[in-house]
């Protein structure tokens, strides 16, 4: 089972499973009641096309469901990361 320390994720790059760079991790939304990790909050790269993604101001939200793996990068599913 893979586990990761939240602080080690600070400013990690988010990449789709097809190798497209989305942006940089800003924060993580969690539910204090259930302990569930809900969303990644990302600063998208200026060149990234955010259409189809959940965007609030300058931040983009990705459901944690989309996360496939976390090592040097955070890899997210290209389909699940939208909506």
């Amino acid at each position: 089972m893979s586990r990761v320390m939240a602080r080690s994720l600070s400013r990690k790059k988010i990449v789709t499973n097809e190798g497209k760079m989305i942006g940089t991790l800003k924060n993580i939304v969690v539910d204090f009641e259930t302990g569930q990790v809900v969303d990644l909050i990302v600063y998208p790269d200026p060149s990234f096309d955010t259409s189809g993604y959940r965007v609030e101001g300058d931040r983009l939200f990705i459901n944690f469901e989309a996360v496939k793996d976390i090592k040097d990068y955070i890899i997210v599913d290209r389909y699940l990361s939208r909506k």
Binding site: M1, S2, R3, V4, M5, A6, R7, L9, N27, I28, V29, V30, D31, F32, E33, T34, G35, Q36, V37, V38, I41, F64, E65, V67, D69, I70
Partner: protein
């Protein structure tokens, strides 16, 4: 009072108390279970040396399941034996 859905960084620095109002320490980090998509435990530092045998660790991992509530502080179950050894497997 902090909303139920909030940013993980809001946890950092919160004081951790037991239900018997004893200070355990301060939240330094959160261990995330990636596949389970949940917070597995809180890494607690600045430990109260009367409660925790500090020679054993740099920090104490408090499993999420023993947390009662999170607001201005983190309130957890009072398990003095587990705090001393750092072993929460049996609780």
């Amino acid at each position: 009072m902090i909303a139920m859905r909030t940013q993980i960084t809001e946890l950092f620095g919160l004081s951790v108390y037991t239900e018997k109002s004893l200070l355990v320490g301060e939240v330094e980090d959160v261990l995330i279970d990636i596949e389970g998509r949940k917070m597995e435990s809180l890494v607690v530092g600045k430990l109260n040396q009367e409660l925790v045998d500090i020679k054993n660790y740099k920090g104490l991992k408090i499993p999420f399941r023993i947390i009662r509530s999170i607001g201005d502080i983190v309130l957890i179950r009072h398990l003095p034996g587990a705090f001393k050894t750092g072993n929460f497997d049996d609780v």
